[in-house]
Amino acid sequence: MEAEIILHVDGSRRALTIDTRTTLLDALRDRLGVYSPKKGCDHGQCGACTVLLNGRRVNSCLVFAVAQDGAEVVTAAGLAEGGNLHPVQQAFLDQDAFQCGYCTPGQVCSAVGMLAEADAAQPSYVTEGFRPEDSPAAADLDDEEIRERMSGNLCRCGAYVNIVAAVRQAAAGGSGA
């Protein structure tokens, strides 16, 4: 079965006819040629496919494209508007927070989404008290909070030490707000 949908991807309006079984990830990659989000597992288990969907981080392999008619999708490519890197991307570069780079666009989108969550007072599993009022703002996240909140994004190259440093750098710059 096919359906017609509109997606707003990295600022451009894209109309497409898709198989209703097509995930948002495959729609982006195979239908629209937007290869920035990666496929690491196709199962919601690795985070390589993370994009910002209507401003929130999601595993795009777990989302059916047909359900997202009219949605706003931002990928890591779209975060670097006009050739200027997003502060999170700059921090990843500064801290060498990647090796092969395959998990990286997902890590970057996840960090951007995560910092916004922190500023929206959303607690994590390691937040003492677990109430919104206990949740630290992005700039106040400690390493334990960053690690916990970034644990949905696996990195087989093992760049975690530098990913935490990069997110800390970006958070201190207030880029998540």
């Binding site: 920035s36 690491g40 395959y102 998990c103 696996l154 530098n162």
Partner: protein, 692 residues
């Protein structure tokens, strides 16, 4: 002979040259290469471990709208050379392991290909398979040699007599499980047949190795296979040699009417067809005097291979050079099973092979009442015990001492299970690390001056290893110019041949070719070349390789906490100190060391590919069940190195660092867990149940 390079760009922490492309996701990996009107392949895999395919009904699949063709052995390309049992798929009806490719569907979309593959019905004549590894089997078999061409067994002196007469004997069996490389980018190939032959966009550690391996299989001259692979999303050995999916997609591309065909393995498929680390059973016997000086070392390894293709891991090889002892024996025995084909995984040999012995050294230290660092220092050999050659820059002791100082080892109370931090038992441990410093001769670099730039090309690979960046630094120094004056090209068989990105040989092998080409270029054209000046040069063999035993060394330190009621284990601190010759780029090098240590943490705590021998299948075949370290698993971890240049390691003075970071990490963590809990776990991974 190439002169040593003067380091100007080398040694500086320049940012990765592919960094902007990586953080924006715009670096094209294999799937993302521009091709016209691709078709999509979804494989059909065997659901039995041994037997014959008696029938494949493809009618329902063929009837599906959007299916282009169904590939089976009945319409598959006949291969010219079927001697490699892993690559010789779809040539007959035999099934050699569960998950082996027996067909595939080519369709207009990935969804259709997958649906149609599920509609293919296969009937089998099933035979009783054998997928159980055990050291008690009576059919264990000695291979002719082990991986990388090492002898299967070695013996020096009379180890049995020395053990019988030793004051202290450690005799223990250690096991390491099967593990899967699991690069984050799944194995991916896009194939197209053109008038010029076969074109592949492949995720590989060596474009030239792919075409050299495939040419005889397809009966093609190598020039008729073109492989492109500019960016690779990790490999860790599993993309070292082509696996059977490359054959499958090339076969599929013969049925697509000339269209390119795309195949990316699913995460599950990768567990049966893309290689893995063999499980090992290691009996280690140490004989020593009361001060912990070794008189005998015996390391007997049992591991598995697939019946359809032999792979014999060189697990006991590091034991041949690590410590001094007059009497020594190492052996490897294989169980030949109906299982997927094992292959290289980060530091084959050293990685599992340093687990048993390095835990045994900790047990020896305890038995003798000697500090674990001291027991290693006391057994430091002055020459390579196996070859009798001097070591080139063996700095194990310096790594241990420097690490001890930084880690705060001096204050350590050696008694186990005496430190409680809340409900957490705390402990620290150490282990040695080593990896051979090899380089491969024969890589060729081309330098061409054009557009005011030195264009340097070599068919090398960057798997996240920093090749784009560090080879540019090497080229800049080889030509005496700035990094910005060099334009590097890698990852294509159209470029001069390069050795594989494996065995931590890439930098030394390719860098030597670039150094040689740079020196020749300057001699021929001077420092003011003209547009179009061009030459190629090959890396000479390193003459020191025949005179010295060349190895990198390291010391791994770990602090762990084990929950006294649940057995949960956390690695609270880790430090690696490495001696690896010149570090060409400290920024990328630290990342690579930390990456190896992180994978070693995974080996210690999480990784275990669980074979169900009743079905011959790895049951935990995805990231939900096969755990690799997540961000929250890695706490305080750092890697440092000795400031040195290895004057025997060729013009760069550098040894490769892709593998040493993982070696010894699991042993250090296991030793720390013993120190914390008093429970000696000899079977990886260190899951909570083992401490209760």
């Amino acid at each position: 002979m190439t002169a040593p390079l003067e380091a100007r760009a080398m040694g500086s922490s320049i940012e990765r040259l592919d960094g902007v492309a990586k953080v924006t996701g715009t670096a094209p990996y294999a799937w993302e290469q521009p091709v016209e009107r691709p078709a999509y392949l979804h494989p059909v895999q065997s659901t039995i471990a041994l037997g014959r395919v008696t029938g494949i009904d493809t009618s329902a699949a063929e009837a599906l709208d959007g299916v282009i063709a169904v590939l089976t052995r009945h319409n598959a390309l006949r291969l010219e050379d079927t001697s490699d049992g892993e690559l010789a798929i779809l040539q007959d009806d035999a099934v050699g392991f569960r998950g082996q490719f027996i067909g595939g569907v080519i369709a207009e979309t990935p969804e259709t290909a997958r649906e149609a593959a599920a509609l293919v019905t296969v009937t089998y004549d099933q035979e009783a398979h054998d997928a159980r590894l055990s050291a008690d089997r009576d059919d264990l078999d000695a291979p002719d040699q082990v991986n990388a061409g090492f002898p299967t067994d070695t013996v020096q002196g009379d180890p049995d007599a020395a053990l019988a007469g030793a004051a202290v004997v450690i005799d223990r069996t250690y096991t390491t499980p099967a593990e899967h490389n699991n690069p984050m980018e799944p194995h991916t190939t896009v194939a197209q047949w053109t008038d010029n032959g076969l074109v592949l966009y492949d995720s590989t550690q060596g474009v030239h190795q792919v075409r050299r391996a495939l040419a005889p299989v397809f009966g093609l001259p190598i020039e008729r296979i073109h492989v492109t692979s500019p960016h690779v999303g990790g490999g860790f050995g599993s993309k070292g040699l082509p696996h059977s999916h490359v054959i499958l997609v090339a076969m599929a591309a013969q049925l697509s009417g000339g269209r390119p065909v795309k195949l990316a393995l699913t995460r599950q498929q990768l567990f049966s067809v893309a290689g893995y680390r063999t499980p090992t059973i290691q009996r280690v016997r140490l004989g020593a005097d009361r001060e912990g000086r070794l008189t005998a070392i015996v390391h007997d390894v049992v591991e598995q291979t697939s019946k359809i293709k032999e792979f014999a891991e060189q697990t006991a090889v590091p034991t041949r050079m690590m410590y001094a002892a007059e009497n020594r024996r190492t052996t490897h025995r294989l169980a030949r099973l109906d299982v997927p084909v094992p292959s290289w995984m980060r530091a084959p040999g050293e990685c599992p092979g340093m687990f048993g012995p390095e835990v045994a050294m900790d047990e020896l230290a305890e038995a003798c009442g000697v500090d674990p660092i001291e027991v290693r220092v006391r057994n430091e050999p002055h020459i390579d015990p196996e070859s009798g050659r001097p070591f080139a820059n063996r700095h194990l002791v310096a790594c241990l001492r420097e690490g001890a100082r930084r880690f705060g080892w001096e204050q350590r109370d050696h008694r186990p299970r005496v430190r409680l931090d809340g409900d957490w038992l705390a402990g620290t441990g150490v282990a040695s690390s080593t990896y051979p410093a090899r380089s491969q001769p024969g890589s060729v670099a081309r330098i061409r001056f054009a557009d005011g730039l030195f264009n340097v090309s070599i068919g090398a690979a960057d798997l996240g290893t920093g090749t784009w960046t560090v080879l540019t630094q090497v080229a800049a120094d080889a030509l005496g110019v700035g990094v910005g004056d060099v334009r590097l090209e890698i990852g294509d068989t159209a470029l001069p041949k390069a050795s594989i990105a494996g065995g931590s040989t890439g930098l030394a092998s390719w860098g030597t070719a670039i150094a040689e080409a740079g020196e020749t270029f300057l001699t021929k054209y001077g420092t003011e070349p003209e547009d179009g000046d061009e030459l190629e040069a090959a890396a000479p063999k390193n003459p020191a390789a025949d005179e010295y035993a060349m190895h990198s060394f390291g010391a791994q330190f770990a602090e762990v906490k084990v929950h006294r009621f649940t057995g949960e284990i956390r690695v609270s601190r880790m430090l690696g100190v490495f001696s690896a010759g010149r570090i060409v780029n400290p920024r990328t090098a630290r990342s690579q060391f930390l990456g190896g240590m992180t994978m070693g943490l995974g080996m210690a705590l999480h990784e275990h590919s669980v074979m169900d021998p009743r079905f011959g299948i790895i049951v935990n075949h995805d990231f939900a069940e096969y755990h690799i370290p997540a961000n929250a698993d890695v706490l305080d971890m750092d890697a440092i190195w000795l400031d040195e240049v290895d004057e025997h390691a060729g013009p760069l003075g550098a040894r490769g660092i892709g593998e040493i970071g993982i070696v010894g990490a699991a042993a250090a963590i296991a030793n720390a867990a013993y120190h914390a809990t008093g429970v000696r776990v000899r079977d990886l991974p260190l899951t909570p149940d083992k401490f209760l």
